[in-house]
């Protein structure tokens, strides 16, 4: 047994000697995922809003997004080689197509579920259509939209590991080279950070949603007002 070191020794060894590479690949993984997610949200949220104003085409557009999501992600990466060649651009484009559905669908459903009576009240008070969208519909749909972004983020971070298969970077590189050389410690050195990233993104977005809840916001406002008041009293008594 002495000439065959255990798995943990190998892992410690590998991480010890290669930590700068692992860090770099982790950073690259975050970069690919973040860009893909930003494009997804930046494109699908406005599109989802547009669909609520043009219900007739909504089913078709969401259907198309559904098709992209159904294509196996590795196959989608393969197809896009014809368009983007190999590398990170291809990966980002594929991840975007793959993750469109949850953001698009949740934006659409979230806004459509805002009670008509509330929208009507806002209009009756003299809000323009843009003000209704920004002050009423989006805030009320936000929990649902963030839910969609959460799903998209986890999908993207998970699938980004496949980018290495088409010449891109990220933690997938470690996983694939570990698989090729049958070195478990290399696989784990790639898979573990990727898992942590996905969990962190999920948790982060969950906290964001909770932070934005009206109850929490109202409590923060009340607390802030209380502090202000105390300060005023303090300066007055001084």
């Amino acid at each position: 047994m002495t000439e065959f070191p255990g798995f943990f020794e190998l892992l410690v060894d590998f991480v010890g000697s290669q930590y700068d590479r692992i860090l770099y690949l982790t950073w690259e993984h975050i970069y690919i995922s973040a860009v893909a997610l930003a494009i997804t949200v930046g494109f699908c949220m406005p599109l989802g809003i547009y669909l609520t104003r043009n219900e007739r085409i909504a089913n078709y557009v969401i259907g198309v997004a559904n098709v992209f999501q159904t294509i196996p992600s590795l196959a989608l990466l393969g197809f896009l080689i014809f368009v983007f060649g190999i590398g990170n651009d291809n990966a980002i484009a594929a991840l975007f197509l793959y993750a469109m559905l949850p953001v698009l669908q949740n934006t659409y459903i979230g806004i459509r579920n805002v009670p008509q009576a509330t929208v009507q009240a806002a209009r009756g008070m003299g809000m323009t259509e843009m003000q209704i969208l920004r002050r009423v519909e989006l805030p009320l749909a936000l929990p649902v939209i963030i839910g969609g972004v959460r799903v998209a983020a986890v999908w993207i971070i998970g699938t980004a590991a496949l980018a290495a298969a088409i010449g891109g970077g990220g933690l997938g590189k470690l996983i694939f080279s570990g698989l090729a050389s049958i070195r478990n410690e290399v696989i784990v050195a790639g898979a573990f950070p990727a898992t942590i990233l996905a969990l962190a993104a999920d948790q982060g977005l969950k906290s964001l949603r909770s932070h934005l809840r009206p109850e929490h916001r109202a409590r923060r406002l009340a607390r802030k007002a209380e502090i202000m008041e105390r300060k005023e009293v303090a300066t007055a008594t001084n």
Partner: protein, 381 residues
């Protein structure tokens, strides 16, 4: 202050909601539109701030034709109160009240002072209520905030669309009293819509009684009570309507707005959620043009939702009444068989509203409280 000149409204599907209504509402006057479901009272109100456009005639406010004003600017200058759903649920009490002043671009300081002043006016201590959300208020408090919000930007004209309709009779009574007091101080021009005659009698300087888009009678509460123009008016304001009601009178008097209307393509799960939200056990199914297709009961909706079906899959079409031929007795018999609301349709099968045992009970309660009130005032005098 507000002038209606031969105002008509025909909807796209051809229904004539309002037919050549003419009326001048004086400055500081409270005019109450009342009538059975589908009489055009709410449509008239919505035409006043251009949530609906007139199909004929014109409306002017303060001498200016409202079609000459940008609708957004017009609405900012008119107070608007609707049933309790009207508060923005994600904003605090302060933010809700401050909505219109904010839209008008008032300076922050002035908005704060105005909000505090209004909260005091309504007897809601600002310290306690400022940062509450609508969901943390009682029904009566919500509606008080709704009224304050409409008054915030100091409009001359305030429109109120059944603002107290969803409240229990005791709270409603109290809020009506507060509104009367408020009006004595503020002298706003109020246009108020209700289907509750007691409310109209209590609040109105003048009552406009409508049926099927036409005005049946306009007059002060006393005039309407003492010299009703026709049998319909007499029946509608009848001193003690329930005891005078005979079983073969039209079901018209019992019709109220359908609480939950869905499309046949609505997912059954969504229908189920709607029922849960409103605490109902049935929903009406209509096509986009308002034609009644059927109704959905809770058990069938559950079954259809389990299969991933739509409202159409859970629909029943055998339970309905036509306004033109159904009597109160017919409705009572159906309600006795099964205590689920009955849809009431016009001759073209358009949904006018529902008859429910809750509605009948509510009507009985308000009648009884009014009788009590009257006997009290009689005893006092």
């Amino acid at each position: 202050m507000v002038e209606y000149h031969k105002v008509s409204k025909v909807f796209d599907d051809g229904t004539k909601a309002v037919d050549e209504l003419s009326l001048t509402v004086g400055k500081g006057e409270t005019v109450v539109f009342i009538g059975p479901s589908g009489c055009g009272k709410t449509t008239t109100l919505k035409m006043t701030n251009r949530l609906e456009e007139c199909s004929g005639g014109h409306i002017s406010i303060g001498g200016e034709d409202i079609t000459m004003v940008d609708p957004v600017q017009l609405r900012r200058g008119i107070g608007y109160v609707i049933q309790e759903t009207g508060l923005l649920p994600h904003l605090t009490v302060v933010e809700n009240i401050a909505t219109v002043p904010q839209l008008l671009g008032w300076p922050k300081r002035r908005i704060e002072e105005r909000v505090a002043e209004l909260l005091e006016l309504a007897g809601l201590p600002p310290r306690e209520f400022r940062y509450r959300l609508p969901s943390q208020l009682s029904g009566g408090q919500k509606q008080r905030i709704g009224v304050l919000r409409a008054l915030a930007a100091e409009p001359d004209v305030v429109l109120m669309d059944e603002p107290f309709g969803a409240l229990d009779p005791i709270t409603r009574d109290r809020l009506q009293g507060e509104l009367v007091e408020l009006q004595e101080k503020l002298h706003k021009t109020i246009i108020f819509v209700t289907h509750d005659m007691d409310e109209a009698l209590k609040l109105a300087d003048r009552i406009v009684l409508m049926r099927r888009g036409k005005v049946e009678q306009i007059g002060s509460p006393d005039e309407l009570q003492e010299s009703p123009a026709n049998d319909f008016v007499r029946d509608f304001i009848g001193e003690d309507r329930l005891s005078q009601i005979t079983p073969d009178m039209s079901v018209e008097f019992l019709v109220e707005d359908a609480p939950l209307v869905v499309r046949p393509t609505t997912a059954a799960q969504e229908v189920l959620d709607g029922m849960e939200d409103l605490g109902r056990e049935s929903a009406q199914v209509c096509d986009p043009r308002g034609r009644w297709l059927g109704m959905v009961f809770l058990p069938q909706a559950k079954a259809a939702a389990g299969r991933g079906g739509t409202a159409r899959d859970a629909m029943r079409t055998d339970r309905k009444l036509h306004m033109s031929e159904a009597s109160i007795q017919d409705a009572a018999q159906m309600l006795a068989d099964q205590s689920v609301p009955i849809p009431v349709l016009d001759d073209e099968d358009a949904l006018l509203g529902v008859v429910s045992d809750e509605g009948v009970a509510r009507m009985t309660i308000t009648r009884l409280t009014r009788q009590k009130r009257q006997s009290r005032t009689e005893a006092a005098s």
